[in-house]
Amino acid sequence: MNMKYKGEMRTITGNAAAAYGAMLCRPDVVALYPITPQTEVVEQLSRFSADGLLDAEMVEVEGENSAMNIVAAAAISGGRVFTASSSWGLAFMYDALLQTSGFRAPVVMVNVNREMPGILAVSTGQQDMIGTRDVGWIQIIAEDCQEILDLVIMAYRLAEDFDIQVPVMVNYDGFYLSYLSEGVNIPAREEVDVFLAPLKEQPERPKLVPGGPLGCGTHGIEKGFVELRYKHCAAMERAKNKFDEIDRLFGESFERSYGGQIEEYYMEDAEIALLASGSASGTVKKVIDSKRKHGLKIGLVKLRMFRPFPSERLSRAFRGKKAIGVIDRSICFGWDCGPIYMELRALSSEIGLIPMMSFIDGLANMDISIVHIERMIDSVYAASQGKPYQRVNWVILEE
């Protein structure tokens, strides 16, 4: 039995918010292995388990690869599951991440973003998320501690939806959010139960049962494989609108919603815009507030869903703008720019041939500071006025 949990407003870290989110969703099997900056999630869930708040099979695994295999197999058996990791832990799961999505196992995991490569780069950065963008998972990104908790709950609705059945990775910035304490509204367990209840009314997903005929991993080759691959892609596409809908329903239940795939901040009348994600979005909003006071028509699109890439909504949001700047907290090896920038460029024909600038900033715990953001906005504005501009900017190195 999961003990009752009433819900309360508390000041907790991002890691604790993730753990609360998971605990409230009543996972059956939880497998965890510690790594900075995620460790507190492991400890907190173990505490919940010891205190009777979390009635799950807790597996203290000997490595992340096993953690992912355990939760994937438990999900295929019919369970609700949770795991969490970061950077090297995520890399150590790489094969299992692929297997999990290939099996369409509705796993929910938290990835606390950390810089890599560089073993000693114990710092924030989204390179770990970027390195797993093509593993067939849904990847969503939180901006603050409240959103972490809320996204974990929404992730179950998304991953386990009968029409989706794709694993979901909830990302948030290590250090900046993992250890940041903020006031978080923690819902009561019953409220979460109600929010997740519609999943129970859906058709049952195929399960591994003793003596049953289900064979997993038996894609084989040729047409059988291609069919499954096609269906996986189609489910990823469906996940976009589904995520918008879940966000809306979440708003109805909890009086908080975020915009779904993207959040638009002053975009309606904006002439120039930034695209950002994660914790830095909060700072960007502050700078926009002050720029707006000075009459600059600037807006922000916060990317909340990175996989699948919200191409339709991004195209719509940016169409008609005069110039765009994209802030990336990671880089795209083999290209000279940030990865989110590179992906946005793929929408050039929908958005229009306007200046698009890549800002690489915030790597390895460097602050994406107010000063940096102001500088970015200045150069995007200059570009919008037809001035010559530099396409790729390593903001940190410009100091």
């Binding site: 099997v29 099979e57 197999a73 058996s77 049962v209 003596g211 005929p213 991993g217 038996t218 084989g220």
Partner: protein, 313 residues
């Protein structure tokens, strides 16, 4: 007229269910692993979940596209994720209070090498499932490469015989012993020449898995990769037992018992001479192999005396 019924072998008493595999499956003729797969399924029953990996056994367990060669519930995973996947399945079923028999079925390459970490982890946590490793002393599915259970001197495609190198240079891991030393609920060795011994161990593993981890290491010679005629497979198994190359024992929580004691062991040469992968061995090399076999036997004999397991009636 009275028809005198032919008396069936005692081994039939151990079968719970019929063979769930199709008649013609794509495993080399004479492969003891195929026999093990069929035998195991008949003894453990059809309501099991098999977890397996890429290997010679996968060819049959996976099936092809939408076709299947068996009626068992099967979870095919990566070589790195067998024991962990089995953990996930068993933990979920434990959570919902349903008894389930999960059986990992892998080669030695998975168990001793790339899948060793999760195996050791699951053994240490004493997870409630059965792990069966069929030991053909190498990576057979990829074309007979060395694994860490390949014996000293053996010729494989990665330890070929040439002027500079002469076969496998290491003595190999004693995997069943290593697993037993995790103090698991049950660990045993078995082979296909001693079917009753194998059947008893399978049944015991199924019982013991309710208490914790149950491991069976099955000596499974490979006619194709080792070089011996396919009709000699069972003879090779038997000779491995008679020479003490592969002693049969079982262990419960770190206490050991020989289940088939050899009164007077045959010389190792009797086994080695049957197998082409050893055909190049010089007397000196043969001596080294003998030394290793002898040491391993002494080890297991020693622990059965120091930490004896009483025979259960």
């Amino acid at each position: 007229m009275m028809v005198k019924k032919k008396k069936l072998s005692k081994i039939f008493d151990y079968f719970r269910d019929e063979d769930p595999f199709a008649g013609g499956i794509s495993i080399c003729s004479g492969c003891p692993m195929e026999l093990l797969l069929r035998f195991m399924s008949k003894v453990l029953g059809k309501d099991i979940i098999i977890v397996g990996t890429p290997s010679c056994s996968a060819i049959v367990l996976y099936g092809q596209n939408i076709g299947s060669w068996h009626k068992l519930s099967y979870y095919g995973c990566l070589m790195t994720g067998v024991a962990s996947s089995a953990t996930g399945i068993t933990r979920y079923y434990r959570k919902i209070g349903k008894d389930v028999t999960v059986v990992c079925f892998t080669g030695d390459g998975c168990a001793a090498d790339v899948g060793f970490q999760p195996l050791s982890g699951a053994a240490e946590r004493n997870e409630n499932f059965i792990y069966i490793c069929y030991d053909n002393e190498g990576y057979m599915n990829t074309g007979v490469q060395r694994s860490s259970t390949t014996p000293f001197g053996a010729k494989t495609s990665t330890t070929p015989i040439g002027v500079a190198r002469r076969g496998n240079e290491t003595t190999g891991k004693n995997l069943p012993f290593i697993i037993a030393m995790h103090k698991v609920s049950y660990a045993a060795t078995a082979t296909l020449s001693h079917l009753e011994d194998l059947a008893k161990k399978l049944i015991k593993a199924k019982e013991k898995k309710n208490e914790g981890f149950a491991y069976i290491h099955v000596f499974s010679p490979c006619p194709t990769g080792w070089g011996f005629p396919m009709d000699l497979s069972i003879e090779v198994c038997r000779m491995a037992v008679r020479t003490n190359y592969f002693p049969l024992w079982e262990a419960e929580r770190g206490k050991f018992r020989l289940t088939h004691k050899i009164k007077k062991s045959r010389p190792l040469k009797d086994l080695v001479r049957m197998i082409r992968k050893f055909s190049h061995l010089t007397d000196e090399e043969m001596g080294m192999l003998e030394k290793e076999v002898h040491e391993r036997y002494r080890l297991i004999e020693g622990v059965t005396q120091m930490m004896p397991l009483k025979e259960t009636p």
